[in-house]
């Protein structure tokens, strides 16, 4: 099951040229770009691991692309997302975020049911990938 999240979740994965164009836009807006990775695709897993430091004062997309390639090289079988942070007063938040790398095979989610008081059923989802320990989930 293909995980989607972030700004372009309704589109097919962006090509490198499209990613570069998006980065150019972000830098043009004066946003700081950072990369994050994870191998736990649960939708409530909000805080991914940082890949390196956020990048401030960049002028050209080439710098970020180098970092994206480095992240893909280090974590080829992880989800990697690119975040653009706007420090303008009033925003001070992520303005744009999208996935730039995903595992080749995404097994999807199991539906869990829990019997609660009064025959209530509680539902939950659990990624099949997390059956295995961190680091070895998609290899």
């Amino acid at each position: 099951m293909r995980i989607t999240q972030g700004t372009f979740s309704f589109l097919p994965d962006l090509t490198d040229d499209q990613i570069r164009a998006q980065i150019e836009y972000c830098l043009g807006q004066g946003w700081a770009i950072s990369l994050e990775y994870t191998d736990d695709p649960h939708p409530r897993n909000t805080y991914w691991e940082m890949f390196g430091m956020p990048m401030f004062d960049l002028r050209d997309a080439a710098g970020v692309m180098t970092e994206v390639q480095a992240a893909r090289g280090t974590f080829p079988d992880h989800y990697i997302k690119l975040n653009a942070f706007d420090s303008t007063r009033g925003f001070e938040t992520i303005r744009l975020s999208f996935i730039v790398n995903r595992p080749l095979h995404e097994p999807g989610f199991a539906l869990g049911r829990e019997e609660a008081a009064g025959r209530t059923i509680r539902y939950t989802i659990r990624p099949y990938a997390t059956d295995r320990p961190e680091g070895g989930r998609y290899s």
Partner: protein, 314 residues
């Protein structure tokens, strides 16, 4: 628009009938001529440097035209080394170079990131690589200007982290040539020793540009240019005094060409302000505020007997 003839479909029209390329139009299009003209106008002297920059600009323009008709010699290596004594205009020229490369389309953003050893080399193991990479990322799309580059390499300390910075730098200089242009700057003799010790660096630098020291009359023109920009002028006496000042200052230690002149003018401005302040009560006109008198310059310690004054204390 295709300027290339297609051999498959046009059997009658051989390549010889392709329209001649318009060098003039390409030149006007890049607006580089205008930039070179301002370089000529704004920078006094430096004839060999200007000639080299003109040559480089010509090469890049022709390379662009060649690419337009499908001839390719691969992207040209643009890394440079600027050698010369302090105050000979290396940083200024580097800034202009960034602009020229930008106009010619060899640098996407055309900004200049000026760094020294401190910005590249870390304090402990594992600190250097991220530091250097961060600087490189900031410089991508523009020009990285490394002042006093020879300090990166310290042969006397074999555990120095400078070597690590050099290796990362070399890798990027080789692999990301269209993303980044590196300009190394420093004293000529030390740079030569640096290149001897690091042949990898030397072989990746295509253009070695040497900045000569300024002559006395060139320094005087520089002073005039600086004063004009600051909206001051010299009285005839002061002009004579400045001429003498330059002659004396050049003979002294720690002479930093245009930088020393700038400092001297700054101090002269200080003394002028003091002089005007001391004669309070007397009417003060626009002329008085603009004019630097001989006494403002002659009060300098350079006119003392002692030959051992150091920069910053005159």
């Amino acid at each position: 628009m295709t300027s290339q003839t297609d051999p498959g479909t046009t059997a009658v029209g051989p390549a010889a009938s392709a329209p001649p390329l318009d060098l003039e139009a390409a030149l006007a299009d890049s607006q580089v001529e205008e930039l070179l003209a301002t370089l000529d106008r704004d920078l006094v002297g430096l004839v060999p440097v200007k000639t080299r920059i003109r040559e480089i600009a010509a090469l890049l323009l022709i390379e662009k035209l060649r690419m337009g008709v499908g001839l390719s010699a691969g992207p040209p290596s643009l890394h440079m080394s600027f050698t010369g004594n302090p105050g000979t205009g290396k940083t200024t020229v580097a800034m202009r170079m960034a602009e020229i490369l930008h106009r010619l389309g060899y640098s996407r953003k055309g900004h200049l990131v000026a760094v020294t050893r401190d910005d590249l080399v870390g304090q402990f193991i594992g600190h250097t690589a991220p530091k250097t990479k961060e600087v490189l990322k900031r410089a991508m799309g523009g020009v990285l200007f490394i002042d006093e580059a020879y300090y990166l390499y310290r042969p006397e300390n074999e555990r120095d982290y400078g070597q690590e910075a050099i290796e990362i730098l070399l890798q990027v200089m080789e692999n990301q040539r269209d993303d980044l242009v590196v300009i190394l700057a420093g004293y000529k003799d030390r740079m030569e020793r640096f290149f001897q010790m690091n042949p990898g660096m030397s072989s990746r630098i295509a253009h070695h540009v040497d900045f000569p020291d300024y002559e006395a009359d060139e320094l005087f023109s520089i002073a005039e240019l600086m004063l004009e920009r600051m909206q001051y002028r010299l009285s005839p006496d002061a002009a004579r005094a400045l001429g003498e000042y330059i002659d004396r200052r050049r003979m002294q230690r720690n002479f930093a060409n245009a930088r020393s002149i700038r400092n001297a003018l700054d101090r002269a401005r200080l003394r002028q302000a003091n002089r005007l302040f001391d004669r309070r009560g007397a009417p003060l006109g626009r002329e008085d505020l603009m004019t630097i008198e001989a006494e403002d310059i002659r009060a300098s310690r350079v006119f003392d007997r002692s030959e051992t004054t150091v920069e910053g204390s005159q």
